[in-house]
Amino acid sequence: MSSAGIQGVAGSPAVAGKARSDFRRVIVFSVVALAVIGVAPYVLDTFMVNSLIRGFLYAAVALTVDVLWGYTGVLTFGQSAFFGIGAYAAGLIFTHVGFSLGYAALALAAGVVAAIVVAGIIGWLSFYHGASPLYASVVSLVLPIVLTQVIYTGGEFTGSSSGLSGFESFDVSMELWFWVAGGYLVLLTAGAWLFVRSDAGRILIAIRDNEPRCEYLGINASRVKILLLTAGAVVAAIAGYAFACAQMVVAPEYTGFVFGTELVIWVALGGRGTLLGPVIGTLLIDTSTSYLSGNLPFYWKLIIGLAFVIVIVAIPKGLMPLIGGLFGRRRGEATVEVPTLVEAAATPFAGLEGAGRLAVELKGVRRHYGSLKVLEGIDFSVKRGELLSLVGPNGAGKTTLMRCLSDGYERSGGSIHINDHDAARLPPHRIVGFGIGRKFQTANAFDTLTVAESLRIARTRIAGPAFFSREATLALPKAALQVIRATGLDAVMGVEAKHLSHGMKQALELAMVLSLEPSVLLLDEPTAGLTKPERTMIGTILTDLVRDHGLCILLVEHDLDFVREISSRVIVLHQGRIVLDGTVAEVVESELVRTIYSGGLHAPAKP
């Protein structure tokens, strides 16, 4: 795999060809699938045609579960609710107002709008900075429960538990509905396939792998999830609408959480994060249920339950990768692809209106955990072109200070301004917008993304991703390119980040942060675990950044030699307070600092 990756750097034609072949494959797949669906009603009996109409629409909803859960890591039990909203929009309007083409269009619009509104509310409830994924899952469970109760209480208006039936609908044959439902599913699957493999689709995986890091790369993960939920809601509502029109019945069952959990079961069994797996899983299980549940009513559900638990425990990727193992492996290697690196047109550093004044200004910043004071009365300011090192023994509050600088929720009191913007109570992705770029101590951003993909994620805020394709080039700022070329990262662009050496991971982290084009760079132990030559190189890069690009760099570092070599200013923290703020020389000569470190001045860097 690695050698292919390195050679793949060579040029763009391969990549462009790659992207084209993706597109071609989708078109071939769609045409074949549509042809099969076109012929199917003439071959299958009425029973199968009717079953598959429902199966296609269920599978469309299962796709949304897969994109949300399999790709983005949002476990949802509530997609059934959106299906129900679409179905009830049709059922209610056709029953109480009547049926005409105009009303049909109105019902579709009403269903989609209602789904968007509900998804917006659920998204607001579920996704916010610091929300636990567990909470989102439970909220997704609450939605269908509440909705079902509303329908029950609706009495004759909603048909209560009996649902609505006997309303007029499109007077067309079941064959036509088969084509409509099948066509919808094929187009959705094709669209979703292009989307998840596109540059934008990589963002979903980045969120699944490491949501906090996405926030620090300026991506509003909550918004991405809300948008995704809303899109999924629309897809499900349209499926529900088609269901009500074709089947001429709506029932609370279709909005309920049992259906919602069945969708998750189908996706899990089929293979989450594979798109085709959930579709095949849904069609197979739903159809076989017709055959088997009559013969073994209780055992069938037991078998499904057992299969589900076994798959979750033993084969979490589901059955699709097992089935598709034969040709899947070939495809797996073929997906290593590498865009050409080019230099980005210099976008002005964010927040440059603060140029010449203060890059960072802290006043009375505090951080308390209960009665434990980790930071107290921190006041200092930094100008552009300064390279400030924060030093101090373990537990002095250095990393906490970094955290407060990059996340408005972190501090307990005091004010922070970045390039004259008030950090207020803003989440990290907003603070990134003020010009902050934070490099973390631990370098393991996105496990399943390649180097190139990771760098592109970091460019999302500035460049914006392509939604249904992959760009053949990756434009990065000069500083990031320097790091990449100097460390040899450009030879491993197609390698998954988790396979890199420690030093390479650190370099990738730095390159990602520089890709944000920050004006204030926060670095937490950039040299930890690096070899001496690597350390020297990083030091050179940092001083160049300050000199050539006018950056302001704040550095937390244990390696005091390194600090001495590159800093223009040093702040010493001890027990949550600033004890010294001065030049390198002042700090080195300070008796106080000697006491604090109590001989540990040259202690080896902590990993």
Binding site: G73, L75, W124, L125, Y128, G130, A131, S132, P133, L134, Y135, S137, V138, V139, L141, V142, I145, V146, Q149, Y152, T153, T261, V264, I265, A268, F298, Y299, K301, L302, I304, G305, L306, F308, V309, I312, V313, A314, P316, G370
Partner: protein, 278 residues
Amino acid sequence: MIATLLDIVTSAAILYAVAAGLLIVFGVMKIINFAHGGFLTIGGYSALAVTKLGWNPWASLVFATGIGFVAGMIIERLVVKPLYSRPLDAILATWGLGIIIGQLITIAFGREVQFVQSPMSGAIEFAGASYSSYRLVLVLAATVIGVGIAALLQKTRLGLVTRAVIMNEDLARGLGINSGLVRFFTFSLGAALASLAGALITPLSSVDPNMGVPWLVNAFMLVLVSGVSFMSLLVATVVFGGAQVLVSTYVSPVLGGLTIVVAAAVLMRVRPQGFSRE
């Protein structure tokens, strides 16, 4: 007025008994056990078995606790343990377990509603009002469960170790605590408590294979807003249980049924730490 007050107290007690087992599992393992409803059902059917065997109805409490503990031990080893590192998958697996438990019970006992002999029935005079005596017994039972858990956590070595794992599992492991064993014990204890709660609530109603489901989501919500503290759980059950009773009594039982889930969801959004202090 007195009756409403008693309703609030007894409803809170029932909710506390039902949610306690879920809370301890959540505290230690950081997962929501979706099989909790299944364990409640196991408790109900344990009580049914006691009735069918003709034992003293009070024996069902001990019997249900034992059955629940054993079921918890088996499930922890087979299903939950392999999923320590995948919490969302653990939730799904316990969901699947809930289905399996429900179907097994259906196959073994039938789908129909059945009855457990109540240890006591009828109403007693309490503060000038006639009130169901068994509901009052449940307040006592919930108190015993609460005090029992507190004693277990505060007074025993096992409790100390468990608290350490709740606070910081990595650190606890670093200190040589066998956190796997703590998880094993906790899950089994959670299952035992759920089963006990199931046996406690059946005399109020009846047993059927889905009896646990209506309790499940309310219990999730109470646990989520309680963080990992049993004191917070007490506050949450009184506040939300009270709200539920008041809405049911003065507005509509249908809205009352949704009070806990909706109020808790909104509370969590506005105040993510819920009722816990930090």
